[in-house]
């Protein structure tokens, strides 16, 4: 009996702690003030100079910067927040990978500070933001080349025109074999590996190549949100073709062959230069993050973070993961425009 009482006492005390903690949080919870509360708590800890407006270099900031959005932009932002944490260890930077649309769903309600996106914001999303009194400002972080890839074992495809891409991917063209696209190619079924319909990558392909018409489905078509699965599917099958972000091709160059795309001016293969200068058209695209202007005006750590990544780390991170950075002056130009909101 005694040991049961001890067990019951243990259980009761665990519950009590839980209840107390739950009560404690209601105080923090008033309004949307958890950021500020944390800020004050941490500031109190390290005797901060929050009220000191002078911009000395080793000033320690604290608070929370919330980021969410595209999985394509995720690697850039992850590297940037990682570097920033070394400089400002008291600033929390929770970063979520929920897709461009998922990010805008939150940023247009004002729930996050940075909304990462692999496509520009849509008109209906701007409308929602305005309804909620939120202003979002666009920042171009880097360029991504959408890469159409085939297996290294594929010895017949070197380049494709936009029209041929449509022949391959559009349902209405009714082609299922390589010989349907070009009579010189083998009489073998085309196997398609494509990102799922929720991804920004598919959105982009859908817009510029498919022109919003339905893509082939069913037999011979594999859709997946996991880009590594697409890479694995294509690498061992000479008759497979697929598309994904340039970073996935870049990380798997020894397994895949990037198809040169002919957008009307001869075939161009994706690489750093052709993506940045726009000759790899129409499959290169800008990657964005949208900053909440109100956070930018009110939160010093958001301003500091913005200045931090626009002065080098964003460009470095983009190169590291296989995207293409903007020219240095473009970052400075954008930063100067954003500084007008708070200086």
């Amino acid at each position: 009996m005694n040991s049961f009482k001890r067990f019951a006492f243990l259980l009761a005390s665990i519950l009590l702690i839980g209840v107390l903690a739950a009560c404690g949080q209601t105080e923090d919870n008033q309004g949307d003030a958890d950021d500020q509360t944390q800020e004050q708590e941490t500031n109190a800890d390290n005797g901060s100079n929050e009220n000191n407006d002078s911009k000395d270099e080793d000033k320690k900031l604290s608070g929370t910067i919330k980021l969410a959005g595209s999985s394509t932009v995720f690697p850039i932002m992850e590297a940037v927040t990682y570097e920033y944490h070394k400089v400002q260890p008291n600033v929390q930077t929770p970063l979520e990978s929920v897709g461009s649309g998922g990010g805008f769903k939150r940023s247009t309600k004002g729930e996050i500070d940075f909304s990462n996106a692999s496509r520009p914001i849509k008109d209906e999303e701007i409308a929602i933001a305005e309804e909620n009194g939120i202003q979002l400002e666009e920042i171009v972080l880097a360029y991504d080349g959408l890469t159409v890839a085939v297996s290294l074992q594929n010895d017949f495809v070197e380049s494709l025109t936009v029209e041929q891409l449509r022949d391959i991917f559009l349902a209405e063209r009714g082609n299922t074999k390589w010989s349907d696209i070009n009579p010189d190619w083998p009489n073998e079924p085309i196997k398609i590996y494509a990102p799922g319909h929720d991804s920004g990558t598919f959105d982009y392909f859908n817009e510029v190549i498919l022109e919003e018409k339905p893509m082939r489905e069913g037999e011979g078509v594999t859709l997946s949100e996991d880009d590594n699965l697409l890479v694995r599917g294509i690498q061992n099958d000479p008759y497979a073709i697929g598309f994904f972000g340039y970073a996935y091709y870049y990380a798997n160059q020894n397994k895949l062959k990037a198809v040169a795309i002919d957008g009307g001016n001869g075939p161009v293969a994706p690489n750093g230069e052709t993506i940045q200068d726009g000759t790899y058209s129409p499959l290169s695209r800008p990657l964005f993050t949208y900053v909440n202007v109100q956070s930018l005006k009110e939160k010093e750590h958001v301003q500091d973070f913005l200045e931090f990544f626009m002065n080098g780390p964003a460009a470095k991170a983009a190169e590291q993961v296989g995207y293409v950075a903007l020219p240095e002056e473009k970052y400075q130009e954008q930063l100067a425009n954003l500084k007008k909101f708070y200086e």
């Binding site: 040991s3 903690a21 949080q25 949307d32 992850e78």
Partner: protein
Amino acid sequence: MNGFLSKEEWKKRLNRRLFINRIFYILFFAATTIGLIFLAMLLYRVLTQGIGYLSWDFIKGFPAPYPEEAGIFAGMIGSVYLIAIVAPVSLVLGVSTAIYLEEYAPKNRISRFIQGNIQNLAGVPSIVFGLLGLTFFVYIMDFGYSLLAGGLTMSLLVLPIIVVAAQEAIRSVPNELKEASYGMGATKWQTILRVVLPASIPGILTGSILALSRAIGETAPLLIVGAAAAIYSLPDSLLGPYTAMPIQIYSWVSRPGEEWPLVAAAGIIVLLIVLLLMNAVAVFIRNKFQKRY
């Protein structure tokens, strides 16, 4: 000789029965082996892939954009915090529900209806609980994308499992024990507290082990209620941002590059170790109570 078997006939039948006996033994043994083979394959794969990245730095480290520097500490602590919320909330609610349904509720249509619904809830896909948590805890209760919202969502997810297991355990307490207690003049509450609960604790804990193991491995609901994929700090309050081990592993698996699946494998090893430790504690408590009557 009518009515009796000849010796040959008898031998034939005996052999037949022994043969059938043997067949079923092999069948059941094979069924067990198949499960074990897959478990062994999984462990072998995970261990060979992940062991290279498993080090003290990996356990102590925060997520990083580079495979060599990535660590699972934020996820591990986040998962432990989550379980610290899930365990008391779901155990207290679940066991109370089970006591009410078994001991107090009249056996009528309404209680059968509740009963059926709870069993159905145990089979609802976890993503649905994620959506429920998003609507209720994140928005209506205004907890935001916080540790508390994540923990409470997980509690809801495992609650039905705990209720069903606890009911089963309470029902299996011999009636004689309860009647003896009543016979000594004990009230219903005294009987429940001093006779029924101690006798059913082993059964309740077995169900809870299964339920909490599920909670520590779930990814889908946490993705919806906002566990971060990259965070360099530990949750500083119940309303702080957080991450959990399955979220980290999921995020590593889906990255470009050959090293990331290996890092994910190392993460899986840590997840397994934490899971085993947690279960070991529960089994230890259960064994202490095993021979109560």
